[in-house]
């Protein structure tokens, strides 16, 4: 990350957004149709809450940024005229 992120989005047990969504889906499915013990259910529930927080945090993670990469490999912000971020005429 190029800026400090909220802790929820840097959980080391979660690989990425896709993995988080996939895991959350499988947890919900297990809880919905599995015959699990109370402990298992609670474990899954807690994990599910972590995942869902992670996903939401990821959605808000980035700021809108448009950068130009030069052939020497430096990054600089794109001019406002290109990004269309100036007020609409």
């Amino acid at each position: 990350m190029s800026k400090p992120s909220p802790p929820a989005s840097t959980d080391s047990t979660i690989r990425d957004f896709e993995a988080a969504i996939a895991e959350l889906e499988s947890i919900v499915k297990k809880l919905e149709d599995g015959d699990l013990s109370l402990e298992q259910s609670l474990g899954l529930y807690e994990r599910g809450v972590t995942l869902s927080k992670f996903c939401h945090a990821r959605l808000e993670d980035a700021e809108r940024r448009i950068e130009l990469l030069s052939d020497r490999g430096d990054l600089r912000p794109a001019p406002a005229g290109l990004t269309g971020d100036e007020p609409e005429r």
Partner: protein
């Protein structure tokens, strides 16, 4: 004097001009040189058509071939310097039109065409080049469906390789801005047409994939003629796409233009705008998907706990009373805590969503969207109300469950022994149970607690 190993076409000494009065004897070389001069002057620039055969590329980089028709052959060669400009690959059997001059290869006494330019007959040179490269890369498996990688659902950064001058980059940024406002885009500006453009695009593709967190790359340009789009039909671009460590979306020209880049890319977008739509889903789609999952998570976990507490309850009802009340009370406390935690969690979902709705609301406020704004607000109010209802309903259900549990706990007190037909007899002010008939006198009022209800009774006699 030339010897056998001299390069062809090297100028030899001009032959001396002499009157033909006497017998003029040439050396072979002298004659050959004269023939050469005449041919070169007479056929300085000719166009000739025929079929290529015996095509051979020498390691000097020069191309040797024979042009033939039904009854004649013409030897030809093309120097490396001219060959460089050919887009397609000359192969045997190809019908071509060649431009060049006729010259003589003195060591062999052969005349030949020194070709400056070659073009395929029928198809355009570009079309032919396209077909040839397509065929070759296809055989190598570069277009295989199995090679296509899935796009990341939520790319951390989106790379774009294109020109800053064209409409393509503006279209892409406009669409991205609308769909997912806080997106992070890295653009590698390159030329997209003309000599050297292909090399720039290929270098850009290699470079941008190395920027940390660029998870997907869009490469393309706006519409144009086949010549304009040509860079995207060059092998170097195809190779760069093929070896890119992250998935590549091609977006070249219009719907109808299919380039080699499109065939190699992991996904072909018909236009640059379409590429921006394919690269990331609308942010709201993500949010609502996660919210739905979270709601299902909470309600399924809650249901699970409720089912379990019901079972604990049924089991304890069946057993002897001693010792179980405490355990049941503890279980009840546990379910109580859990239920509260779940309800809190659900409220959390609600708060989260409400906050996000507010954020969306603010954004809608900021962009003057007129009627759409009003419509969205109505939806927000409805969703809000629905959420409140859901939370209330769930809370109620949890409370009812707890009430039931508490009720059952009462029944499980030692008084439940009354259910077996025993009754407890209390003194008038119900301060102690009567264990001895001597404790009462005729006429006293006593209270009898039964399994269901209680009765007041008068002692009519002592036995």
């Amino acid at each position: 004097m030339s010897d056998l190993f001299d390069l062809p076409f090297e100028d030899a000494e001009p032959p001396a001009e002499e009157p033909v009065a006497t017998r003029r004897i040439f050396t072979v070389t002298e004659l050959t040189v004269r023939v050469r001069d005449i041919l070169e002057e007479r056929f300085f620039e000719v166009w000739v058509e025929g079929e290529l055969s015996g095509v051979r590329l020498w390691n000097t980089g020069h191309l040797y071939f024979t042009l033939k028709d039904s009854s004649s052959v013409l030897k030809g060669l093309m120097f490396r310097s001219a060959l460089r400009y050919l887009k397609f690959k000359p192969v045997d059997g190809l019908r071509v039109v060649a431009r060049g001059k006729i010259s003589v290869y003195e060591p062999k006494g052969e005349y030949q065409l020194v070709c400056e330019h070659l073009e395929p007959q029928g198809l355009g040179a570009l079309q032919l080049a396209f077909d040839q490269l397509k065929q070759r890369l296809q055989a190598e498996g570069l277009f295989d469906a199995a090679k296509k990688r899935p796009l990341p659902a939520l790319p951390r950064k989106i790379g774009v390789v294109t020109s800053l001058d064209g409409a393509a980059i503006r279209d892409i940024l406009k669409v991205l801005r609308r769909r997912y406002r806080n997106v992070h885009v890295v653009i590698r500006p390159t030329r997209v047409q003309g000599e050297g453009a292909a090399a720039e695009i290929a270098a850009g593709l290699r470079q941008i994939a190395n920027v940390p967190h660029v998870d997907v790359v869009i490469v393309g340009r706006g519409g144009g003629s086949m010549e304009d789009l040509w860079a995207f039909n060059e092998e170097t671009v195809a190779r760069a796409i093929s070896i890119s460590p992250v998935p590549v979306i091609s977006a070249v020209g219009h719907e109808s233009d299919v380039t080699i880049a499109d065939l190699v890319a992991d996904l072909r977008a018909p236009t640059p705008s379409a590429a921006a739509e394919l690269v990331v889903a609308r942010k709201e789609e993500f949010s609502s998907r996660i919210d739905r999952l979270h709601e299902r998570l909470v309600s399924s976990a809650l249901g699970r706990v409720q089912r379990l507490s019901r079972r604990v309850h049924e089991l304890s009802g069946r057993r002897a009373l001693a010792g179980y009340t405490t355990r049941l009370a503890m279980t009840q406390r546990r379910t109580d805590e859990l239920t509260r935690a779940m309800t809190d969690a659900l409220r959390g979902v609600f708060t989260l969503r409400a906050r996000r709705l507010q954020a969306i609301d603010r954004r809608l406020d900021a962009s003057d969207l007129g009627r759409r704004l009003a419509r969205n607000r109505t939806t927000l109010v409805t969703v809000d109300a629905q959420l409140r209802q859901t939370v209330t309903a769930l809370t109620h259900r949890a409370r009812a469950r707890l009430g039931e549990l508490a009720g059952r706990l009462d029944t499980l007190s030692p008084l439940a022994v009354l259910a077996r037909g025993y009754a407890v007899c209390w003194n008038d002010d119900r301060t102690r149970a009567i264990r001895d008939a001597a404790d009462v006198r005729t006429g006293d009022t006593v209270h009898v607690t039964l399994s269901r209800g209680a009765i007041a009774a008068k002692v009519s006699g002592i036995e």
